[in-house]
Each structure stands twice: as structure tokens, then as C-alpha cells.
């Protein structure tokens, strides 16, 4: 009995973290990134965008901040149509299979350093699961996301969704390789797969892409870190570009390319099932941004080694969480900015870019990093 109680007691902390991070932060962020996408694209195209929905039955519009709520309500109330020709079980399974892996990966995302709460002796670590194989876990779970899309395309049992599904899965498999290879220089430099300790090292020595700390007003840096910027910058470009392809965002949104494939793999889906695909894409985008920030831009740490990791005081713990989400939001805005500025690639160009350029450059980059590390000992 006591054993069961200790097990249940040890589950309290992760449960609170999961509820707060996933349901109270990531899911609202997903809804509001759709809103941000619409407002930001309107800004880029000199339109107004959705600025009317505010508090119901009043004229207070709050710049349209009520729009995501209204959209969600609309999706729930819409008719949920299951076409007669689909394979029912997999047709229903597919949307869940795209959403679940996207959200699962945030288990290892360090969204803050530590949080020292009053009345508790030990500071809490701001990550749901502090896994030693953090990065591998992310790649493993993210690679399961392709099932949702493949099954959606196949279960819809019609032509456009099938072509969309096949395209999407080959695209995701291809870019997973360059995504994985582009991270290896980071692993070689930090010598650890644990995301928390990667961020801690960046906090102490400066970010991967900004390896400078300030001593008073004097910049402190080592020559090795400056030279290592070259492979890290190449890695960063490959990682971010592959991230666009992995999340099926423009300029690589070939699977749902409207002019060729109607809506790709989710052509036959309606109401909330369509919304799950839609939201799964945004969730993958948010969490992908989270990992780009964690690996290359210092995660929760402030630049130049400022601040603390929150082990000493509550204030720096909260600042770290705020820093992390500020960076993630900045990255999401970058995603949106690219979507509305760059035209779509052709499918053969996409595959060429992945296999002929990124794969080789990433391999060469690993060699380069190894050479630099060997040279500086």
C-alpha cells in the first residue's frame, strides 16, 4: 500500500507539469498561432485581417483576440461527415496519430531552468521528463508522426489524398535524415544528449550561435567557439529548413499543394477531424521551434550568460521561462514570415534539395566539426 502511495505521490509533479505545459500553454499557443498567422499575413499583404471578434454581445473587439475561440466553436458545431467510401477505422485513427506525437515530444523540452517555489526545499526542474536520451526521444517520437499522414491518405480511399499522403511521407522520411545529421555537430560539441544539460552549458558559456559572455562590459570568448560558429551556422540553416519540410509548411507544403492536389491528405476530412490535422501541424511547428531554440539559441537562458538558472531565486526561474517562450514566439513569427514571403518549391526541387544538397552538406559539416574539435583538442 505504501509503495502504491509513493508511486502516486511521485506522479503528482509530472502530472501538474503536463497539464500546465500541454493544456494550458501549448494548446492555447496553437490556437493563437493560427490567429497570429492570419493577422501577420494580413499585415504583410496590407490587409486588415480578423480584428472583429472580441467579447460576445458587446462592441469590444480586443483586436480580434476572440477569433480562435470562435473558430474552435465553429469546428465543433460543424457537421462531422464520414464519406461512405473510406476505411472507417483508419480514417478515424489518422487525425489522432498526427496530433499525439506532436504533443508527446514536448515531454523532454526544457521550458525553463529551475523554479524555486516558496514552501518547497528543492527547486523544481522545468522539464516534464529529464531524459538522458532527450534528442533521440524527440526524433523517435516525431518519426511516428508520418503514420497519421500516410494512413489519412490511404484510408480516404480516393486519388488526391493518396498522392498527398505518399508525397508527404517521402518528404518527411527524406528530411528526417538531414534533420538528424544537422544536429550531430551540436552533440559533438556538448558531448551530451540531455537537452537540459545542453541548455545549461549554453547558459554558462553563451549560446551555440552567440558564444560570448560578458564580464562587466568586457566580452569573454574563446577562439575555438568562434571557429565552431562556422559549422554551427551551417547546421542551423539545414536544421531550420528541414524543420519547414518536416512540418509541411510553405515553401515545402507539397503534400497539400492546393493547385495540384485540392487539399492533399486531408481532402476528405471535415469539422473537428480536419481541425486536428490543422492543429497538429501548428503544434509540430511550435514544438519544432522550441527545439531549434533549445539547441541553437540557448533555450531558456538569457544572452551573454546573464541571469541565473532559477536554482537560487524564484525571480530568475520565472525570467528563464519567460525568455524561453519569448524566443519560441519569435521563431513562430519567423515561420509565418517565411510562409508569406517565399513561393512554393516544385516537388523534384524539394527532393533534390534534400538529397543532393542538405544530405551531403550535413555530412561534410560533421567532418568539419570533428576536425575543428580535434585541432583545438
Amino acid at each position: 500500500m505504501t509503495e502504491l502511495l509513493t508511486i502516486l505521490y511521485s506522479l503528482i509533479e509530472p502530472t501538474i507539469k503536463i497539464v500546465v505545459l500541454v493544456f494550458m500553454v501549448i494548446l492555447p499557443m496553437v490556437a493563437y498561432s493560427v490567429y497570429a498567422e492570419r493577422r501577420f499575413s494580413a499585415l504583410l499583404q496590407d490587409r486588415v485581417g480578423p480584428n472583429r471578434v472580441g467579447i460576445p454581445f458587446t462592441k469590444i473587439s480586443l483586436a480580434g483576440l476572440g477569433q480562435p475561440m470562435a473558430d474552435g466553436l465553429k469546428f465543433i458545431l460543424k457537421e462531422d461527415l464520414t464519406p461512405g467510401h473510406v476505411r472507417k477505422f483508419y480514417y478515424w485513427l489518422a487525425p489522432a496519430l498526427t496530433m499525439v506525437p506532436a504533443l508527446l515530444t514536448c515531454a523532454v523540452l526544457p521550458f525553463g531552468g529551475h523554479l524555486k517555489l516558496p514552501f518547497f526545499d528543492e527547486p523544481f526542474q522545468m522539464v516534464i521528463a529529464d531524459l538522458d536520451v532527450g534528442i533521440l526521444f524527440v526524433f523517435a517520437i516525431a518519426s511516428l508522426g508520418v503514420y497519421g499522414i500516410v494512413l489519412a491518405g490511404w484510408a480516404s480511399n480516393s486519388k488526391y489524398p493518396f498522392i498527398g499522403g505518399v508525397r508527404s511521407s517521402s518528404q518527411m522520411i527524406s528530411y528526417e535524415i538531414s534533420l538528424g545529421l544537422s544536429v550531430i555537430p551540436i552533440l559533438m560539441i556538448y558531448g551530451d544528449l540531455n537537452l537540459g544539460s545542453i541548455v545549461q552549458q549554453q547558459h554558462e558559456k553563451g549560446w551555440a550561435l552567440l558564444p560570448v559572455t560578458l564580464d562587466g562590459f568586457m566580452p569573454v570568448f574563446s577562439f575555438r567557439d568562434i571557429v565552431l560558429l562556422v559549422p554551427l551556422l551551417i547546421s542551423f540553416v539545414i536544421f531550420v529548413t528541414s524543420l519547414f519540410a518536416e512540418t509541411n509548411r510553405l515553401p515545402f507544403d507539397l503534400p497539400e499543394c492546393e493547385t495540384e492536389l485540392v487539399a492533399g491528405y486531408h481532402t476528405e476530412y471535415s469539422s473537428m477531424k480536419f481541425a486536428l490535422f490543422f492543429l497538429g501541424e501548428y503544434a509540430a511547428m511550435i514544438i519544432g521551434s522550441g527545439f531549434a531554440v533549445t539547441l541553437f539559441l540557448g533555450g531558456w537562458s538569457l544572452p551573454f550568460g546573464w541571469g541565473g538558472n532559477g536554482e537560487e531565486s524564484l525571480f530568475w526561474g520565472l525570467v528563464a521561462i519567460g525568455t524561453f517562450f519569448a524566443k519560441v514566439i519569435g521563431f513562430i513569427l519567423f515561420f509565418i514570415w517565411v510562409r508569406w514571403s517565399i513561393p512554393r518549391f516544385r516537388y523534384d526541387q524539394l527532393m533534390r534539395l534534400g538529397w543532393v544538397f542538405f544530405f551531403e552538406i550535413a555530412l561534410f559539416n560533421i567532418l568539419l566539426t570533428a576536425g575543428i574539435l580535434m585541432f583545438f583538442g
Partner: protein, 187 residues
């Protein structure tokens, strides 16, 4: 935490049965994915995080996606209508029974079989500071934790370096072979 062991074993057995029993090849493939996930969870319970995660990454995430891909391009209707080959069914059953008898014979003579199921931290009989490991990994060793990725990497790249190179060459040869086979006309 024995409950988790039984849950994941049940998942593995049920999906394993699904692989052989279902008529639809896509269902079989998805059941195999479920079985791999259950296996990965069992590895993770035994503190072998690296093997568990690689199990998902390689088998569930890459190999099975390609399987599913191929299956979907085939004519499934013909496969579903195929009648059961009773001879093959009986042969498979007999083989499985022989395997079970042998397994139980081995396990009944195996001393470790008497030990109750308590997944415990792998007992480290290694020296506490291993050469060639980064400081963070050595620190974990001193705390009696298992930096399994570092240990596996160290083993592969020092003791088994030559077999690793051979495997690499083998993979390269098969890749080249595939390219030659898929390009019928060589000019």
C-alpha cells in the same frame, strides 16, 4: 511498477496476435508497430533507454513506414480474399509450440528465473572513471547511474571498431546495389 510490465507485455502479445491474425495487411503492419512500441517500453523499464529509443526510431519510425508504403501500393482486396492455407497454419502452430516447450525447458533450469521481477538499476562492475568518456558521463557513473549512450558509443568505437567499419561497407555495398538494380540502363 510491475503493473507497467504487465500492461506493456499485454500490448505486445495482443498486437503480436494481431499481426498474424488480421486479414488486412495494413492492420498487420500497424499491429507490428504497436508491438515494437511495447517492446521499446519494456527496454526502457529495464533502464536501457538507448536501445528502447532506437527501437522506436529505427523499427517503428523508419522500417515500418517503408513497409506500410509498399503495402499500400499493392492490391489489398486480393490479399483479403485469399483463403487460409491450413497446412501452413498447422506448421506455424507446431513450430511455435516447439519453441515454447524449448523456452520453458531452458527457463526452468535457469537460476535467474527464480528471482522475482524487480527491474533494478544495472549493477555496474566497471571502473568508475572510464577513459574517453566526457566528464558528464563519468559523473553519472560515480552516482551509479547508467550513461548508456556513452557506454555503447565507447564500446562500438574502440573495442568493436573493425566490425563497425565492416557493417558500414556492407551498407554501402547494398546501397550501390540498389541503385544499379533500379537503373536498368547503364550508359
Amino acid at each position: 511498477m510491475e503493473v507497467l510490465f504487465y500492461i506493456f507485455s499485454a500490448i505486445m502479445i495482443v498486437s503480436g496476435l494481431g499481426v498474424v491474425a488480421s486479414r488486412n495487411p495494413v492492420t498487420s503492419a500497424m499491429c507490428l508497430v504497436g508491438s515494437f512500441l511495447g517492446l521499446a517500453a519494456l527496454f526502457i523499464q529495464l533502464d536501457a533507454f538507448f536501445i528502447g529509443i532506437i527501437q522506436i526510431l529505427v523499427y517503428a519510425g523508419a522500417v515500418m513506414v517503408l513497409f506500410l508504403f509498399i503495402i499500400m501500393l499493392l492490391d489489398l482486396k486480393a490479399e483479403e480474399k485469399k483463403s487460409v492455407n491450413y497446412m501452413a497454419f498447422a506448421g506455424g502452430l507446431i513450430l511455435a509450440l516447439i519453441f515454447m516447450v524449448q523456452l520453458s525447458a531452458v527457463l526452468s533450469n535457469f537460476e535467474a528465473g527464480d528471482v522475482g521481477f524487480t527491474p533494478r538499476q544495472a549493477q555496474l562492475t566497471l571502473d568508475k572513471d572510464l577513459a574517453g568518456l566526457p566528464e558528464s558521463a563519468n559523473e553519472k557513473l560515480r552516482e551509479d547511474k547508467l550513461p548508456d549512450v556513452h557506454l555503447v558509443g565507447r564500446m562500438i568505437f574502440t573495442k568493436y571498431n573493425f566490425p563497425l567499419q565492416v557493417v558500414g561497407v556492407l551498407l554501402l555495398v547494398s546501397t550501390v546495389g540498389v541503385i544499379i538494380l533500379s537503373k536498368r540502363k547503364l550508359s
